[in-house]
Protein backbone atom coordinates (compact mmCIF):
# COMPACT_ATOMS: atom_id res chain seq x y z
CA UNK A 1 0.00 0.00 0.00
CA UNK A 2 1.50 3.36 -0.94
CA UNK A 3 2.14 5.93 1.78
CA UNK A 4 2.40 8.71 -0.75
CA UNK A 5 0.03 11.68 -0.57
CA UNK A 6 -0.08 11.68 -4.38
CA UNK A 7 1.50 15.11 -4.85
CA UNK A 8 3.95 14.68 -7.75
CA UNK A 9 5.87 17.88 -6.86
CA UNK A 10 7.31 16.59 -3.57
CA UNK A 11 10.67 14.95 -3.13
CA UNK A 12 10.08 11.40 -2.04
CA UNK A 13 13.17 11.25 0.15
CA UNK A 14 12.82 14.73 1.67
CA UNK A 15 13.49 14.96 5.41
CA UNK A 16 12.35 17.71 7.69
CA UNK A 17 15.34 20.06 8.07
CA UNK A 18 16.83 19.68 11.51
CA UNK A 19 16.60 22.81 13.60
CA UNK A 20 19.85 24.07 15.08
CA UNK A 21 20.30 23.07 18.70
CA UNK A 22 20.83 26.65 19.79
CA UNK A 23 19.74 30.08 18.66
CA UNK A 24 22.26 32.75 17.67
CA UNK A 25 25.72 32.27 19.20
CA UNK A 26 27.53 30.03 21.63
CA UNK A 27 27.92 32.89 24.11
CA UNK A 28 25.72 32.87 27.22
CA UNK A 29 22.43 34.67 26.51
CA UNK A 30 22.29 36.01 30.07
CA UNK A 31 25.69 37.54 30.77
CA UNK A 32 26.64 37.81 27.08
CA UNK A 33 30.25 37.39 28.14
CA UNK A 34 31.13 33.82 29.03
CA UNK A 35 31.18 30.98 26.53
CA UNK A 36 28.14 28.75 26.99
CA UNK A 37 28.23 25.48 28.90
CA UNK A 38 24.68 24.20 28.50
CA UNK A 39 21.83 24.54 26.03
CA UNK A 40 18.39 24.77 27.61
CA UNK A 41 15.58 24.83 25.07
CA UNK A 42 17.71 26.47 22.38
CA UNK A 43 19.14 29.09 24.77
CA UNK A 44 22.82 28.93 25.74
CA UNK A 45 23.89 29.48 29.35
CA UNK A 46 27.26 29.50 31.04
CA UNK A 47 27.72 27.60 34.29
CA UNK A 48 27.82 30.80 36.32
CA UNK A 49 24.42 31.92 35.02
CA UNK A 50 22.88 28.43 35.04
CA UNK A 51 23.05 28.17 38.84
CA UNK A 52 21.03 31.32 39.69
CA UNK A 53 18.66 30.56 36.81
CA UNK A 54 17.84 27.15 38.28
CA UNK A 55 17.51 28.41 41.84
CA UNK A 56 15.25 31.21 40.66
CA UNK A 57 12.95 28.70 38.91
CA UNK A 58 12.90 26.56 42.07
CA UNK A 59 12.02 29.44 44.36
CA UNK A 60 9.51 30.92 41.94
CA UNK A 61 7.57 27.65 41.95
CA UNK A 62 7.66 27.22 45.72
CA UNK A 63 7.85 30.46 47.67
CA UNK A 64 4.61 32.10 46.46
CA UNK A 65 2.79 29.11 48.00
CA UNK A 66 4.55 28.98 51.36
CA UNK A 67 2.19 31.30 53.20
CA UNK A 68 -1.34 30.21 53.85
CA UNK A 69 -2.57 32.84 51.45
CA UNK A 70 -0.58 32.68 48.20
CA UNK A 71 1.42 35.86 47.73
CA UNK A 72 -0.33 38.79 46.20
CA UNK A 73 1.39 41.73 44.55
CA UNK A 74 3.28 42.65 47.74
CA UNK A 75 5.64 39.92 48.89
CA UNK A 76 5.58 39.16 52.57
CA UNK A 77 7.82 37.17 54.87
CA UNK A 78 7.74 33.39 54.44
CA UNK A 79 5.72 31.98 57.34
CA UNK A 80 4.35 28.50 56.67
CA UNK A 81 1.73 27.08 58.99
CA UNK A 82 3.52 23.81 59.57
CA UNK A 83 6.61 21.82 58.69
CA UNK A 84 8.00 20.68 55.37
CA UNK A 85 8.08 17.12 54.05
CA UNK A 86 10.37 16.41 51.12
CA UNK A 87 9.37 13.32 49.14
CA UNK A 88 12.56 11.53 48.11
CA UNK A 89 12.62 8.64 45.65
CA UNK A 90 16.35 8.35 44.98
CA UNK A 91 15.80 9.57 41.44
CA UNK A 92 17.46 12.53 39.78
CA UNK A 93 14.69 15.07 40.35
CA UNK A 94 14.27 14.41 44.05
CA UNK A 95 18.06 14.38 44.52
CA UNK A 96 18.23 17.87 43.04
CA UNK A 97 15.20 18.96 45.06
CA UNK A 98 16.75 17.73 48.29
CA UNK A 99 19.94 19.62 47.50
CA UNK A 100 18.09 22.87 46.77
CA UNK A 101 15.95 22.59 49.91
CA UNK A 102 19.05 21.98 52.00
CA UNK A 103 20.97 24.87 50.47
CA UNK A 104 18.08 27.31 50.86
CA UNK A 105 16.05 26.28 53.87
CA UNK A 106 18.16 24.02 56.11
CA UNK A 107 21.74 25.26 56.01
CA UNK A 108 21.63 28.35 53.79
CA UNK A 109 24.41 28.29 51.23
CA UNK A 110 25.85 31.80 51.11
CA UNK A 111 27.43 31.12 47.74
CA UNK A 112 24.05 30.27 46.30
CA UNK A 113 21.84 32.87 47.87
CA UNK A 114 22.12 36.01 45.81
CA UNK A 115 21.97 39.28 47.62
CA UNK A 116 18.44 40.08 46.48
CA UNK A 117 17.34 41.07 49.96
CA UNK A 118 13.78 41.38 51.18
CA UNK A 119 12.21 40.49 54.49
CA UNK A 120 11.16 37.12 53.06
CA UNK A 121 14.77 36.19 52.31
CA UNK A 122 15.62 32.83 53.92
CA UNK A 123 18.88 34.07 55.36
CA UNK A 124 17.03 36.03 58.03
CA UNK A 125 15.56 33.01 59.80
CA UNK A 126 14.71 29.42 59.06
CA UNK A 127 11.52 29.24 57.05
CA UNK A 128 10.52 25.74 58.20
CA UNK A 129 11.34 24.71 61.77
CA UNK A 130 11.38 21.04 60.83
CA UNK A 131 12.27 19.65 57.43
CA UNK A 132 11.35 15.98 57.17
CA UNK A 133 12.43 13.71 54.33
CA UNK A 134 10.16 10.80 53.48
CA UNK A 135 11.44 7.87 51.42
CA UNK A 136 9.21 4.98 50.36
CA UNK A 137 11.10 1.76 49.63
CA UNK A 138 9.25 -0.05 46.83
CA UNK A 139 11.57 -3.01 46.23
CA UNK A 140 9.18 -5.44 47.94
CA UNK A 141 6.63 -4.84 45.18
CA UNK A 142 9.04 -6.47 42.71
CA UNK A 143 10.45 -10.00 42.72
CA UNK A 144 14.07 -8.92 42.21
CA UNK A 145 14.66 -5.24 42.88
CA UNK A 146 17.60 -4.17 45.00
CA UNK A 147 16.80 -2.33 48.21
CA UNK A 148 18.19 1.18 48.40
CA UNK A 149 17.31 2.14 51.95
CA UNK A 150 20.92 2.08 53.19
CA UNK A 151 22.12 4.25 50.29
CA UNK A 152 19.34 6.74 50.97
CA UNK A 153 20.11 6.80 54.67
CA UNK A 154 23.76 7.52 53.89
CA UNK A 155 22.73 10.50 51.77
CA UNK A 156 20.58 11.87 54.61
CA UNK A 157 23.45 11.51 57.04
CA UNK A 158 25.74 13.25 54.59
CA UNK A 159 23.50 16.29 54.53
CA UNK A 160 22.55 16.65 58.17
CA UNK A 161 19.69 18.85 59.30
CA UNK A 162 16.97 16.60 57.90
CA UNK A 163 14.67 14.34 59.86
CA UNK A 164 14.49 11.09 57.96
CA UNK A 165 11.27 9.05 57.90
CA UNK A 166 11.80 5.75 56.10
CA UNK A 167 8.70 3.97 54.83
CA UNK A 168 8.05 0.79 52.96
CA UNK A 169 5.36 0.42 50.33
CA UNK A 170 3.64 -2.28 52.39
CA UNK A 171 3.07 0.24 55.22
CA UNK A 172 -0.01 1.21 53.21
CA UNK A 173 -1.47 -2.17 54.30
CA UNK A 174 -0.09 -2.13 57.83
CA UNK A 175 -2.56 -1.51 60.69
CA UNK A 176 0.39 -0.77 63.01
CA UNK A 177 1.57 2.06 60.81
CA UNK A 178 -1.99 3.39 60.61
CA UNK A 179 -2.28 3.31 64.42
CA UNK A 180 1.13 4.96 64.75
CA UNK A 181 -0.12 7.99 62.85
CA UNK A 182 -3.09 8.24 65.14
CA UNK A 183 -5.89 6.47 63.28
CA UNK A 184 -8.12 3.48 63.92
CA UNK A 185 -7.43 0.66 61.47
CA UNK A 186 -10.16 -1.16 59.59
CA UNK A 187 -9.07 -4.01 57.32
CA UNK A 188 -10.99 -3.92 54.10
CA UNK A 189 -10.80 -6.03 51.00
CA UNK A 190 -12.43 -6.04 47.62
CA UNK A 191 -13.72 -8.79 45.37
CA UNK A 192 -11.80 -8.19 42.15
CA UNK A 193 -13.59 -11.00 40.32
CA UNK A 194 -16.76 -8.92 40.22
CA UNK A 195 -16.83 -5.64 38.31
CA UNK A 196 -19.11 -4.26 41.02
CA UNK A 197 -16.09 -4.47 43.39
CA UNK A 198 -17.88 -5.78 46.45
CA UNK A 199 -16.32 -4.37 49.59
CA UNK A 200 -15.61 -6.81 52.42
CA UNK A 201 -14.21 -6.67 55.91
CA UNK A 202 -11.11 -8.82 56.21
CA UNK A 203 -9.69 -10.60 59.20
CA UNK A 204 -6.27 -9.41 60.21
CA UNK A 205 -4.42 -12.59 59.29
CA UNK A 206 -2.13 -11.52 56.44
CA UNK A 207 1.09 -9.60 56.94
CA UNK A 208 1.37 -6.16 55.32
CA UNK A 209 3.90 -7.58 52.85
CA UNK A 210 1.54 -10.35 51.74
CA UNK A 211 -1.37 -7.94 51.61
CA UNK A 212 0.58 -5.52 49.39
CA UNK A 213 1.74 -8.30 47.08
CA UNK A 214 -1.76 -9.69 46.87
CA UNK A 215 -3.05 -6.25 45.93
CA UNK A 216 -0.39 -5.78 43.24
CA UNK A 217 -0.91 -9.28 41.85
CA UNK A 218 -4.67 -8.69 41.60
CA UNK A 219 -4.30 -5.64 39.40
CA UNK A 220 -5.24 -6.48 35.84
CA UNK A 221 -2.60 -4.68 33.74
CA UNK A 222 0.96 -3.35 33.87
CA UNK A 223 -0.43 0.18 33.65
CA UNK A 224 -2.66 -0.52 36.64
CA UNK A 225 0.28 -1.78 38.69
CA UNK A 226 2.46 1.24 37.90
CA UNK A 227 -0.39 3.64 38.59
CA UNK A 228 -1.26 1.90 41.83
CA UNK A 229 2.34 2.01 43.01
CA UNK A 230 2.58 5.74 42.32
CA UNK A 231 -0.71 6.33 44.14
CA UNK A 232 0.33 4.26 47.16
CA UNK A 233 3.63 6.14 47.37
CA UNK A 234 2.03 9.56 47.11
CA UNK A 235 -0.74 8.90 49.61
CA UNK A 236 1.72 7.33 52.07
CA UNK A 237 3.73 10.55 51.89
CA UNK A 238 0.58 12.65 52.34
CA UNK A 239 -0.42 10.85 55.52
CA UNK A 240 3.15 10.96 56.78
CA UNK A 241 3.19 14.69 56.16
CA UNK A 242 -0.02 15.09 58.07
CA UNK A 243 1.29 12.98 60.95
CA UNK A 244 4.36 15.23 61.17
CA UNK A 245 2.25 18.38 61.18
CA UNK A 246 3.53 19.46 57.79
CA UNK A 247 1.83 22.18 55.82
CA UNK A 248 3.83 21.50 52.65
CA UNK A 249 4.87 18.38 50.78
CA UNK A 250 7.37 18.94 47.97
CA UNK A 251 8.04 16.35 45.28
CA UNK A 252 10.96 16.23 42.86
CA UNK A 253 8.92 16.03 39.68
CA UNK A 254 10.87 17.78 36.94
CA UNK A 255 9.38 19.46 33.88
CA UNK A 256 10.03 16.31 31.84
CA UNK A 257 8.53 13.97 34.45
CA UNK A 258 5.54 16.27 34.82
CA UNK A 259 4.89 16.18 31.07
CA UNK A 260 5.04 12.38 31.22
CA UNK A 261 2.65 12.14 34.16
CA UNK A 262 0.19 14.62 32.64
CA UNK A 263 0.00 12.86 29.28
CA UNK A 264 -0.05 9.35 30.72
CA UNK A 265 -2.61 10.47 33.31
CA UNK A 266 -4.94 11.71 30.61
CA UNK A 267 -4.32 8.53 28.62
CA UNK A 268 -5.60 6.30 31.40
CA UNK A 269 -8.61 8.36 32.35
CA UNK A 270 -7.15 10.92 34.78
CA UNK A 271 -7.96 14.07 32.80
CA UNK A 272 -10.11 15.37 35.65
CA UNK A 273 -6.99 15.42 37.87
CA UNK A 274 -4.80 17.47 35.55
CA UNK A 275 -4.71 20.34 38.04
CA UNK A 276 -3.99 18.06 41.00
CA UNK A 277 -1.15 16.47 39.07
CA UNK A 278 0.56 19.85 38.98
CA UNK A 279 -0.31 21.17 42.43
CA UNK A 280 -2.99 20.40 44.99
CA UNK A 281 -4.31 21.18 48.44
CA UNK A 282 -5.24 18.15 50.51
CA UNK A 283 -6.90 17.54 53.81
CA UNK A 284 -7.15 14.09 55.33
CA UNK A 285 -10.66 14.38 56.69
CA UNK A 286 -13.05 13.68 53.87
CA UNK A 287 -16.09 15.87 53.89
CA UNK A 288 -19.05 13.61 54.28
CA UNK A 289 -22.42 13.64 55.92
CA UNK A 290 -21.54 10.39 57.63
CA UNK A 291 -19.53 10.23 60.83
CA UNK A 292 -15.83 10.03 60.16
CA UNK A 293 -13.22 8.71 62.54
CA UNK A 294 -11.19 11.82 63.19
CA UNK A 295 -7.48 11.30 63.72
CA UNK A 296 -6.48 11.22 67.35
CA UNK A 297 -3.94 13.93 66.66
CA UNK A 298 -6.35 16.21 64.85
CA UNK A 299 -4.45 18.79 62.90
CA UNK A 300 -7.34 20.50 61.26
CA UNK A 301 -5.81 23.95 61.57
CA UNK A 302 -4.16 23.63 58.18
CA UNK A 303 -4.25 21.35 55.15
CA UNK A 304 -1.34 20.08 53.09
CA UNK A 305 -0.11 21.87 50.02
CA UNK A 306 1.55 19.49 47.55
CA UNK A 307 3.98 21.36 45.34
CA UNK A 308 6.41 20.36 42.60
CA UNK A 309 9.06 23.11 42.72
CA UNK A 310 11.07 21.64 39.83
CA UNK A 311 8.13 21.86 37.43
CA UNK A 312 10.01 24.42 35.30
CA UNK A 313 13.34 22.58 35.45
CA UNK A 314 13.89 19.96 32.77
CA UNK A 315 15.62 16.63 33.20
CA UNK A 316 18.69 17.89 31.36
CA UNK A 317 19.04 20.79 33.78
CA UNK A 318 18.64 18.40 36.71
CA UNK A 319 21.39 16.24 35.26
CA UNK A 320 23.72 19.21 34.86
CA UNK A 321 22.95 20.46 38.39
CA UNK A 322 23.60 17.05 39.93
CA UNK A 323 26.95 16.79 38.15
CA UNK A 324 28.20 20.31 38.78
CA UNK A 325 27.16 20.21 42.45
CA UNK A 326 28.75 16.77 42.91
CA UNK A 327 25.53 15.07 44.03
CA UNK A 328 25.32 11.33 44.42
CA UNK A 329 22.25 9.94 42.69
CA UNK A 330 21.06 6.72 44.29
CA UNK A 331 19.05 5.97 41.20
CA UNK A 332 15.69 4.39 40.78
CA UNK A 333 15.28 1.20 38.85
CA UNK A 334 12.64 0.94 36.18
CA UNK A 335 9.46 -0.63 37.46
CA UNK A 336 9.44 -3.92 35.58
CA UNK A 337 7.66 -7.11 36.43
CA UNK A 338 8.26 -10.61 34.98
CA UNK A 339 6.78 -10.95 31.52
CA UNK A 340 6.91 -7.19 31.45
CA UNK A 341 5.11 -5.37 28.67
CA UNK A 342 5.44 -1.59 28.86
CA UNK A 343 2.46 0.16 30.37
CA UNK A 344 1.08 3.55 29.36
CA UNK A 345 3.53 5.35 31.67
CA UNK A 346 6.63 3.69 30.22
CA UNK A 347 5.49 4.24 26.64
CA UNK A 348 4.69 7.87 27.36
CA UNK A 349 8.06 8.40 29.00
CA UNK A 350 9.88 6.96 25.99
CA UNK A 351 7.90 9.26 23.72
CA UNK A 352 8.40 12.43 25.78
CA UNK A 353 12.12 11.82 26.37
CA UNK A 354 12.62 11.27 22.65
CA UNK A 355 10.61 14.38 21.90
CA UNK A 356 12.68 16.43 24.33
CA UNK A 357 15.88 15.44 22.58
CA UNK A 358 14.84 16.80 19.19
CA UNK A 359 12.16 19.34 20.11
CA UNK A 360 12.89 20.44 23.68
CA UNK A 361 10.41 23.30 23.73
CA UNK A 362 7.54 20.92 23.09
CA UNK A 363 7.83 19.42 26.55
CA UNK A 364 7.43 22.77 28.28
CA UNK A 365 4.52 23.52 25.94
CA UNK A 366 2.79 20.35 27.14
CA UNK A 367 3.05 21.45 30.76
CA UNK A 368 2.03 25.03 30.06
CA UNK A 369 -0.98 23.93 28.05
CA UNK A 370 -2.10 21.47 30.73
CA UNK A 371 -1.73 24.29 33.24
CA UNK A 372 -4.38 26.22 31.36
CA UNK A 373 -6.86 23.37 31.38
CA UNK A 374 -9.85 23.62 33.63
CA UNK A 375 -11.67 20.27 33.63
CA UNK A 376 -15.43 20.43 33.41
CA UNK A 377 -17.60 18.70 35.91
CA UNK A 378 -18.70 18.93 39.50
CA UNK A 379 -16.72 17.34 42.32
CA UNK A 380 -18.64 14.68 44.19
CA UNK A 381 -16.48 13.75 47.14
CA UNK A 382 -12.93 12.44 47.36
CA UNK A 383 -11.68 9.13 46.02
CA UNK A 384 -10.87 6.77 48.88
CA UNK A 385 -8.01 5.23 46.96
CA UNK A 386 -6.06 8.19 45.57
CA UNK A 387 -7.55 11.00 47.74
CA UNK A 388 -8.34 13.12 44.68
CA UNK A 389 -11.69 14.54 43.57
CA UNK A 390 -14.38 12.29 42.14
CA UNK A 391 -16.07 13.68 39.06
CA UNK A 392 -19.85 13.68 39.37
CA UNK A 393 -21.85 11.36 37.14
CA UNK A 394 -19.17 8.85 36.12
CA UNK A 395 -21.21 5.87 37.31
CA UNK A 396 -24.13 6.91 35.14
CA UNK A 397 -21.80 7.56 32.23
CA UNK A 398 -20.18 4.13 32.53
CA UNK A 399 -23.60 2.52 32.75
CA UNK A 400 -24.61 4.28 29.50
CA UNK A 401 -21.55 3.16 27.54
CA UNK A 402 -21.73 -0.54 28.48
CA UNK A 403 -24.44 -3.13 28.77
CA UNK A 404 -25.11 -3.98 32.35
CA UNK A 405 -27.64 -5.94 34.34
CA UNK A 406 -28.85 -5.38 37.83
CA UNK A 407 -29.04 -7.87 40.61
CA UNK A 408 -30.80 -7.38 43.89
CA UNK A 409 -28.04 -8.37 46.29
CA UNK A 410 -29.68 -11.57 47.47
CA UNK A 411 -26.44 -13.51 47.19
CA UNK A 412 -24.87 -14.19 50.53
CA UNK A 413 -21.31 -12.85 50.73
CA UNK A 414 -18.83 -15.28 52.31
CA UNK A 415 -17.47 -12.47 54.50
CA UNK A 416 -19.00 -9.46 56.15
CA UNK A 417 -19.95 -6.98 53.50
CA UNK A 418 -19.16 -3.37 54.20
CA UNK A 419 -20.72 -2.07 51.01
CA UNK A 420 -22.17 -3.64 47.89
CA UNK A 421 -19.77 -1.75 45.73
CA UNK A 422 -16.59 0.24 46.04
CA UNK A 423 -17.33 2.03 42.76
CA UNK A 424 -19.22 5.06 44.14
CA UNK A 425 -16.19 5.88 46.28
CA UNK A 426 -13.65 5.75 43.46
CA UNK A 427 -12.63 8.30 40.89
CA UNK A 428 -12.60 7.23 37.26
CA UNK A 429 -8.86 6.43 36.91
CA UNK A 430 -8.88 4.38 40.13
CA UNK A 431 -11.91 2.48 38.93
CA UNK A 432 -10.15 1.78 35.64
CA UNK A 433 -7.07 0.68 37.58
CA UNK A 434 -9.08 -1.97 39.38
CA UNK A 435 -11.41 -3.11 36.62
CA UNK A 436 -9.71 -2.76 33.24
CA UNK A 437 -8.88 -6.00 31.50
CA UNK A 438 -5.98 -6.80 29.23
CA UNK A 439 -6.29 -9.01 26.16
CA UNK A 440 -2.95 -10.54 27.12
CA UNK A 441 -2.65 -12.56 30.34
CA UNK A 442 -0.51 -10.83 32.91
CA UNK A 443 1.73 -12.93 35.11
CA UNK A 444 1.53 -13.00 38.87
CA UNK A 445 4.92 -11.62 39.98
CA UNK A 446 4.69 -13.59 43.24
CA UNK A 447 3.50 -17.06 42.22
CA UNK A 448 4.35 -18.55 45.62
CA UNK A 449 2.14 -16.15 47.54
CA UNK A 450 -1.24 -17.20 48.87
CA UNK A 451 -3.31 -14.94 46.72
CA UNK A 452 -7.12 -14.86 46.42
CA UNK A 453 -8.41 -12.33 43.91
CA UNK A 454 -11.85 -12.36 45.49
CA UNK A 455 -10.37 -11.10 48.77
CA UNK A 456 -7.88 -8.47 47.68
CA UNK A 457 -6.71 -6.30 50.58
CA UNK A 458 -7.06 -2.56 50.25
CA UNK A 459 -4.80 0.20 51.64
CA UNK A 460 -5.55 1.27 55.19
CA UNK A 461 -6.86 4.70 54.24
CA UNK A 462 -9.78 3.17 52.37
CA UNK A 463 -11.18 1.97 55.67
CA UNK A 464 -11.40 5.26 57.47
CA UNK A 465 -14.23 6.74 55.50
CA UNK A 466 -16.45 3.70 55.16
CA UNK A 467 -18.62 2.38 57.92
CA UNK A 468 -20.08 -1.11 58.12
CA UNK A 469 -23.85 -1.33 57.58
CA UNK A 470 -25.86 -1.25 60.77
CA UNK A 471 -27.52 -4.43 62.06
CA UNK A 472 -31.01 -5.46 60.83
CA UNK A 473 -33.75 -3.00 61.56
CA UNK A 474 -31.65 -0.02 60.64
CA UNK A 475 -33.01 2.73 58.48
CA UNK A 476 -30.70 1.63 55.69
CA UNK A 477 -31.31 -2.12 56.04
CA UNK A 478 -34.47 -2.29 53.92
CA UNK A 479 -33.31 0.00 51.14
CA UNK A 480 -33.00 -1.53 47.69
CA UNK A 481 -29.37 -2.05 46.76
CA UNK A 482 -28.68 -1.90 43.06
CA UNK A 483 -25.39 -3.11 41.67
CA UNK A 484 -24.45 -3.17 37.99
CA UNK A 485 -22.40 -5.81 36.24
CA UNK A 486 -21.48 -6.62 32.68
CA UNK A 487 -23.83 -9.11 31.01
CA UNK A 488 -22.50 -12.41 29.70
CA UNK A 489 -22.91 -13.05 25.97
CA UNK A 490 -25.73 -15.55 26.50
CA UNK A 491 -27.61 -13.07 28.69
CA UNK A 492 -27.25 -10.35 26.06
CA UNK A 493 -28.63 -12.72 23.42
CA UNK A 494 -31.56 -13.64 25.63
CA UNK A 495 -32.41 -9.97 26.09
CA UNK A 496 -32.73 -9.35 22.35
CA UNK A 497 -33.67 -12.80 21.05
CA UNK A 498 -37.29 -11.93 20.28
CA UNK A 499 -36.09 -9.18 17.93
CA UNK A 500 -33.59 -11.35 16.06
CA UNK A 501 -34.43 -12.47 12.55
CA UNK A 502 -34.34 -16.21 12.08
CA UNK A 503 -31.74 -17.62 9.67
CA UNK A 504 -33.54 -19.06 6.64
Amino acid sequence: MSDSCGNPATETEALMPRRRKFDKTKICVKCKTNPGSLIIRHAVYCKECFVPLTTHKFRRSLEPFVNAKPDGPRRTALKPQGNLLVGFSGGLGSTVLLDLVHRYYVVPDKALIQDDGGSHHPRHERVWKRVVVGYVEVCDAFPSMVERMSDVRAIMEGYGGFEFVPLRIQDAFDPCWWKKIGRDPVNLGVDMTDEALKLLRLEESTSPLEAMRSYMASLPTTTARSTALQTLTRVLLQYTAQANDCSHLVLGTSLTSLAVSLISGVAHGGGFHVREEMQEEWTADQSSDREVDVAKKATKRHGLRIIRPLRDVGMKECGAWSWWMGLKVVGRENWEWPGFKPGIGALTKAFIVGLEKDYPSTVSTIVRTCGKLSPKGIVEGKCISCERPIQSGIQDWQARISIRSRHNGDEQAPFEEVAESLSPFLCYPCRITLTSRSTRPILNPFPNSNHDVSLTPLPMWTGRVLHPPKTSGSEEGDAEIVVGRTLARSEMKNAVKEFLLQDE
Binding site: K21, G36, G91, S94, G252, T253, S257, L310, C318, G319
Partner: protein, 102 residues
Protein backbone atom coordinates in the same frame (compact mmCIF):
# COMPACT_ATOMS: atom_id res chain seq x y z
CA UNK B 1 49.26 7.04 17.90
CA UNK B 2 46.69 7.09 20.71
CA UNK B 3 44.90 9.65 22.80
CA UNK B 4 44.10 9.36 26.49
CA UNK B 5 40.60 10.22 27.65
CA UNK B 6 38.93 10.45 31.03
CA UNK B 7 35.40 9.06 30.99
CA UNK B 8 32.93 9.58 33.82
CA UNK B 9 29.43 8.24 34.34
CA UNK B 10 26.74 9.78 36.52
CA UNK B 11 23.04 9.70 37.34
CA UNK B 12 23.07 5.95 37.83
CA UNK B 13 24.64 5.16 34.45
CA UNK B 14 27.71 3.79 36.21
CA UNK B 15 25.64 0.73 37.11
CA UNK B 16 25.97 -0.42 33.50
CA UNK B 17 29.77 -0.04 33.60
CA UNK B 18 30.77 -2.30 36.51
CA UNK B 19 29.54 0.35 38.93
CA UNK B 20 32.69 2.35 38.25
CA UNK B 21 32.15 6.03 37.89
CA UNK B 22 35.52 7.00 36.44
CA UNK B 23 37.49 5.32 33.65
CA UNK B 24 40.74 6.16 31.87
CA UNK B 25 40.94 4.85 28.33
CA UNK B 26 43.09 5.12 25.24
CA UNK B 27 41.77 5.36 21.72
CA UNK B 28 43.56 5.60 18.38
CA UNK B 29 43.84 9.13 17.03
CA UNK B 30 42.71 8.03 13.57
CA UNK B 31 40.02 5.47 12.74
CA UNK B 32 40.63 2.67 10.20
CA UNK B 33 38.80 4.66 7.54
CA UNK B 34 41.21 7.56 7.95
CA UNK B 35 39.08 10.04 9.81
CA UNK B 36 39.87 11.44 13.23
CA UNK B 37 38.26 9.66 16.18
CA UNK B 38 35.10 11.38 17.30
CA UNK B 39 32.60 10.94 20.13
CA UNK B 40 30.44 8.55 18.12
CA UNK B 41 33.46 6.27 17.82
CA UNK B 42 33.99 6.62 21.58
CA UNK B 43 30.37 5.67 22.27
CA UNK B 44 30.65 2.49 20.22
CA UNK B 45 34.00 1.66 21.77
CA UNK B 46 32.50 1.98 25.26
CA UNK B 47 29.57 -0.21 24.25
CA UNK B 48 31.85 -2.90 22.86
CA UNK B 49 34.58 -2.84 25.53
CA UNK B 50 33.30 -1.45 28.81
CA UNK B 51 29.54 -2.00 28.92
CA UNK B 52 28.68 -5.03 31.04
CA UNK B 53 24.93 -5.29 30.46
CA UNK B 54 21.89 -3.90 28.67
CA UNK B 55 23.54 -2.05 25.72
CA UNK B 56 20.13 -0.76 24.67
CA UNK B 57 20.14 1.45 27.79
CA UNK B 58 23.24 3.28 26.54
CA UNK B 59 23.17 3.28 22.74
CA UNK B 60 20.24 3.83 20.39
CA UNK B 61 20.30 4.62 16.68
CA UNK B 62 24.08 5.20 16.43
CA UNK B 63 24.18 7.64 19.34
CA UNK B 64 23.50 7.70 23.04
CA UNK B 65 19.99 6.88 24.13
CA UNK B 66 17.68 9.90 24.54
CA UNK B 67 17.85 11.12 28.12
CA UNK B 68 21.63 10.78 28.46
CA UNK B 69 23.37 14.13 28.85
CA UNK B 70 26.90 14.28 27.46
CA UNK B 71 29.43 16.88 28.64
CA UNK B 72 32.72 17.43 26.83
CA UNK B 73 35.18 19.25 29.10
CA UNK B 74 32.28 20.48 31.21
CA UNK B 75 30.36 21.72 28.17
CA UNK B 76 27.16 20.41 26.59
CA UNK B 77 28.17 18.27 23.60
CA UNK B 78 25.41 19.97 21.58
CA UNK B 79 27.64 23.06 21.62
CA UNK B 80 30.58 21.05 20.35
CA UNK B 81 28.93 19.29 17.45
CA UNK B 82 27.56 16.24 19.31
CA UNK B 83 28.84 12.97 17.88
CA UNK B 84 31.04 14.69 15.31
CA UNK B 85 33.26 16.33 17.92
CA UNK B 86 36.80 15.07 17.37
CA UNK B 87 38.28 14.00 20.68
CA UNK B 88 41.69 15.29 21.77
CA UNK B 89 44.26 13.97 24.20
CA UNK B 90 43.25 14.78 27.80
CA UNK B 91 39.57 15.40 27.05
CA UNK B 92 37.07 14.62 29.80
CA UNK B 93 33.78 13.17 28.58
CA UNK B 94 30.92 12.74 31.02
CA UNK B 95 27.78 10.68 30.42
CA UNK B 96 24.92 11.47 32.81
CA UNK B 97 21.68 9.55 32.80
CA UNK B 98 18.61 11.70 33.38
CA UNK B 99 16.22 8.79 33.06
CA UNK B 100 15.96 7.73 36.67
CA UNK B 101 12.82 9.62 37.41
CA UNK B 102 11.96 12.38 39.80
Amino acid sequence: MSISLKIEFGGGLELLFSNERSHRISLPTIQPDGRPTNITDLIFWLRDNKLKERPELFVEDKTVRPGILVLVNDTDWELEGEGDYEVKDGDEIVFISTLHGG
